[in-house]
Symmetry: D4
Subunit: 218 residues, 8 copies
Amino acid sequence: MSSDVTFDFPRAQRLGFSEAVLAAGKSTAQLCTILELAAGRGISLLLTRLADDALAALPAQYRAQIDYDTLSRTAVFGDLATPASEMRVALVTAGTSDLAVAREASRTLRFHGQASLEIADVGVAGLWRLMARVEELRSYPVVIVVAGMDAALPSVVGGLVPGLIVAVPTSTGYGVAAGGTTALHAALASCAPGIAVVNIDNGYGAACVALRALNAMG
Amino acid sequence: MSSDVTFDFPRAQRLGFSEAVLAAGKSTAQLCTILELAAGRGISLLLTRLADDALAALPAQYRAQIDYDTLSRTAVFGDLATPASEMRVALVTAGTSDLAVAREASRTLRFHGQASLEIADVGVAGLWRLMARVEELRSYPVVIVVAGMDAALPSVVGGLVPGLIVAVPTSTGYGVAAGGTTALHAALASCAPGIAVVNIDNGYGAACVALRALNAMG
Amino acid sequence: MSSDVTFDFPRAQRLGFSEAVLAAGKSTAQLCTILELAAGRGISLLLTRLADDALAALPAQYRAQIDYDTLSRTAVFGDLATPASEMRVALVTAGTSDLAVAREASRTLRFHGQASLEIADVGVAGLWRLMARVEELRSYPVVIVVAGMDAALPSVVGGLVPGLIVAVPTSTGYGVAAGGTTALHAALASCAPGIAVVNIDNGYGAACVALRALNAMG
Amino acid sequence: MSSDVTFDFPRAQRLGFSEAVLAAGKSTAQLCTILELAAGRGISLLLTRLADDALAALPAQYRAQIDYDTLSRTAVFGDLATPASEMRVALVTAGTSDLAVAREASRTLRFHGQASLEIADVGVAGLWRLMARVEELRSYPVVIVVAGMDAALPSVVGGLVPGLIVAVPTSTGYGVAAGGTTALHAALASCAPGIAVVNIDNGYGAACVALRALNAMG
Amino acid sequence: MSSDVTFDFPRAQRLGFSEAVLAAGKSTAQLCTILELAAGRGISLLLTRLADDALAALPAQYRAQIDYDTLSRTAVFGDLATPASEMRVALVTAGTSDLAVAREASRTLRFHGQASLEIADVGVAGLWRLMARVEELRSYPVVIVVAGMDAALPSVVGGLVPGLIVAVPTSTGYGVAAGGTTALHAALASCAPGIAVVNIDNGYGAACVALRALNAMG
Amino acid sequence: MSSDVTFDFPRAQRLGFSEAVLAAGKSTAQLCTILELAAGRGISLLLTRLADDALAALPAQYRAQIDYDTLSRTAVFGDLATPASEMRVALVTAGTSDLAVAREASRTLRFHGQASLEIADVGVAGLWRLMARVEELRSYPVVIVVAGMDAALPSVVGGLVPGLIVAVPTSTGYGVAAGGTTALHAALASCAPGIAVVNIDNGYGAACVALRALNAMG
Amino acid sequence: MSSDVTFDFPRAQRLGFSEAVLAAGKSTAQLCTILELAAGRGISLLLTRLADDALAALPAQYRAQIDYDTLSRTAVFGDLATPASEMRVALVTAGTSDLAVAREASRTLRFHGQASLEIADVGVAGLWRLMARVEELRSYPVVIVVAGMDAALPSVVGGLVPGLIVAVPTSTGYGVAAGGTTALHAALASCAPGIAVVNIDNGYGAACVALRALNAMG
Amino acid sequence: MSSDVTFDFPRAQRLGFSEAVLAAGKSTAQLCTILELAAGRGISLLLTRLADDALAALPAQYRAQIDYDTLSRTAVFGDLATPASEMRVALVTAGTSDLAVAREASRTLRFHGQASLEIADVGVAGLWRLMARVEELRSYPVVIVVAGMDAALPSVVGGLVPGLIVAVPTSTGYGVAAGGTTALHAALASCAPGIAVVNIDNGYGAACVALRALNAMG
């Protein structure tokens, strides 16, 4: 089975952050192979989209070394580094339903030593909720905005906040929301300039964009 | 040629506003037939999407009775009624490029005796432009919001203003803006509740929604 | 958990109708937080898309204060105001399968004090069913038309009835009906003028359009 | 050049109607090859989508044998058979802009010896126009309905008229009309049973459906 | 509950075939209302898309009067008329997986007194299978062709057989087959002339097209 | 039941490889009919997309003659020919999740006597994994590349390797990956010349392309 | 300007065929840079999608060394190698309009020393045209099938001919033909096994697939 | 006319870069209004998508103050600041046709005082071209990757280079390239982690993402 996996361990050196394991679509045996390889090298791993039952199917000795978060379905295998003292990323969500995606981002950041601030449920239909936090947001070098449906939030934040804006469209909504497609297109066609966009529900990817920027900032 | 046309003259009595002539796709001969029918009955007509050269191709005696607006490509044939003294519809556009569509709406309203207020170029990327006008907008029973690209404006207006909101997505933009499709979907999936949406670039239709509402209000 | 939720309580004052809770996608804990906040303020709440099992998972003391409708999956938490004496909204459905969406609209209207008339199963394939009710419909200031598949009904009603027409496309149908997309597009491209359209299956949104119009009418 | 063309002359015997020449996309030389082959066999040909300038580019001796219709861009090369005395096909259009497509159908029918009745501009937004002709339509074995935008007309006709209904969606309209896609989908998802549908703007194809049915009827 | 249903009983007189009950999306109570209405009038009913468990949920006295076919999920409630002695419709399927849709068509035809011939699994990848039956097919006035994936079969049959061809695209296939969309588009864009197309998986609709044609033939 | 099936046994003679049984969508009875026909002729059969429970539902005497592979859901019924001594096809996958599709291809090749090499998990995000194998790949006449998401792998391999490249896009991924559509489009729009593409997840089809090429090579 | 271009001259050694110049989208200056580079190395170049006016804009000394084909818009700059004596590729087109794409393929093959056979206008609507050539086609190791609209031809050829089949969907057709999308999808979802597909109108790519296969055959 | 424009002059203070003028879709009069406003304030302006003839239509006194670049259709009105001494952004393009979009980005950066490096025509079909520059690219904090068609380049660069990667999909290509949609989707679904994506052909937006990041870096 081991030949099914060619893990990219050198990525951490090459890019500054390590390969995460996208658990969805992998068998228990394949996950065990990867965990065993990581344990053998004494390194920690981040697993994303690990369903509850996929976690439960892992051997107990592996589960014992895993810190699991139900909302975001992320798991950290092994030790966590101490986070940086400065909080340099803010996460903003339009609605309660977007929290799971935001949490995947904050867990990914935390795995790589970055703490972050979550500001939840400040969609533009009640604009006062966002306006109350704008000054605070303006002090962050990176702001990740998580929104589904019409994704008007990245445009409004992008017009008010000078930092790097990463929009994560989510699959929240129904009908023409179309599994996040409308949110994606709205973020890409934003009237606010310089919005960086990642795939639908890709909290992990947004965190990686932030990590690249933070690393480049030194 | 006259049998090509079965004009719905009773519509004005039935619905409270008359059939407009969608000039695009009609030949000069067909347009003349309609104008002749209207002249014979002594009634005025609104023509939409009448291109410059289609106007020029009409006989001089008809052109003499036409008031034409280049930006919106609308024409009024015949006399105009005196407008109502009260202004009950506000038109808001996100960008300068959306003005042509807004003008089609205001011309349609004016044809049916309704004056309206245009507030242009107040897209959310510079939110202060809209905020300066919000209190004024809150006093209008009907607000038509015209926006392309990500169409975040209807959501923000819809969260701040209590009147009937009619969103007109426009084909402004490129790439994923997709000829207005993203703006349309964003308006339909708006996080602000109760946004009424019409077809892309359909300023005429938005005005008709307003007319139905104003007529029902008495 | 409370920080996950930033409820827009001022919306009722701002827009004239209150924020509803879209229950789909929210956890039991999040729903409880919201209900507790509302109970503390002594206000009533409307919940939409609340599945049977999500209702069953709520604590008994909350369930006791809830009036639940299975067909539309709507719940009213707390007291209901006395409805207005005058019935100003008519709801028309094309088929029996569209009733759930229409009921979401009528429940939303009722929550905000508006009674409404339901006329069911009058699709245009048997046109006599609609023609028998046209005169009655012409007396309503607002008519909500709920239809899936080809959504020919809004066009026919829109050509016959002068009031504000709000079309709700539904996901009824299969194949090219495409989850309501064809009904949505047909309503937006209607040959009848001035049809206001909302998202697929969005009975709640149609009711909000009606509430905006009724409020503006005074 | 002649090897570019393998004309299906046996089709008339095999199917009861002959191959038409889709002129769009063919060079003048290729068209000449086909006309020469037909002239050599002494048979007549129908050409569809023959643009004005493509006609003008043909040699004079061929043009002299061609009966051309500008509206439908169809040409008949050679002699026409005497039409059947009985008129068995009715053509109904929703708007004036749909006439070109309907004319392609009637010209195709006429080429194969079938006369037909055109009823124009009876879209459902002014339902009285159609209702005035329903009894007449009920006597036709085949009714071709030509409509763009929302294509509500085939559904209404299909619910009232017992004959074979062939819907031809047209590219009339803008925005979500999407070049005829919405009309096509609406016709296919019609709430009226047994609507036969052909490609967008395919008047020729609708006529061929009618010819197959008429031939089968004997 | 009875007001949820406005059954179109006059349809049989108006169109020559009766309204079928699309069982999918209807509750047991709604189905019972309809069956009761039919029983009271002493007429038979066809139900389509009636799932096994929806059948099982009906009261025993109704189930006793139902003839159910599992493959096509169709049910006949009440008596069946004696079929016509002449078989005038042939049904051709490309693959075994298309049989369920073909059976819905043949059951619909049989309900209205028309017998039909089924020729299964003759897709063009093994062309000899179809060629062996072509002469037989050429004698039928109506041929219904049921095919998914690339739907090449309607084009090949349409080029060989003179009768009315009704193509039913099916949702057979995966990937770009896209739930029948490719089959639908291929049938509509067929290089063979005069193919009449209905919605994806709509065996019932194809049968209705055939019934309209057969009725018109007298 | 046997008339439901018209198996294309002559295909092996005609094309050089036999018809496989696409088990998905076929009933147990239909599968038994086919197995019985094959057993009667003494030939082996390949079954694809045979789910675990569909296998379990087969009679024991058939199961005893079946070699089943869980990952690819393929089954071989009957004897296998000895494979060719020379390995002429290489299979390359971008990720672990693409292995099931690659295995369907290798099992199909093996059924027809062709051995193949699998190189797994060498996606371009860690380019060193592929570069380590390029020289080896350059010696194969046929290389099948299996990749989902952005499907950059076929382009990179196609620029480095001279053999026939067959790209199989897979449904791996989420959001804009869209069930394999993006991978499919990227493979078709590849900047590397001469990439042959098959349907999403169609490992069987890719193997057939390879078999056609190998047969032609002699 | 020269730094705009990094021509892949080593491709011929690496892949067995050289980089072609996609002229569309390149300026005259950029084309001249490339031609100059090639002239300097004494090698020949193939240019595709070179419009008439782009050719005319080139300096006379370059035009003098170019062999241009109007139908396919391909140009050969420099000398042509003597073609192989054996003809190993057959090109089949469904209609006359597909010839331009087929010619791009045959010109590409010829540039690389491969002669090919063109069989034009044998679409399945007149199946006899193809059947007359099937035995001949069965002797070719590679058959390129060029078809638009419903693209039924690759499926029929693929079921009859054992060689490597490369389908090139074309943008021929209108309405649902959708610029070649339906032809593309039909080829990918073909019921005939092992059809290799390239991008719409990509005759060049199909030839490259053939070249890869022929090179691998030795 | 001035009321058509509400220019967002405070943006430079708010976001750190000024509003650009999207010239496409604006009339000469509107452009003059904006230039006049800017001249009055003594500030410079960047205009994007300014067509040659739109430039020519401007009054001579304005043209005299404009630095225009034909390839990217960008114009700088007024003085340019001295660029930063350190070059912190690299621009990489897949093909020559992508240069116009890259140039829009580099001109936007230069307008805001940032110099940048252009590396052109290094698409992955000839991987050696990119590999020769990788070490150089690894030293840049921001790398903008411009690619059309399959957009494999951002994935390969993203796997090799640690800086912030901004992918700009372009409309280069035909058929399934679909005006840049495939490139966009491929970039969003990239197997390389942390790719930031902007709208199709949006070089301006990519530069703004870079500016936000550079500003945050200090």
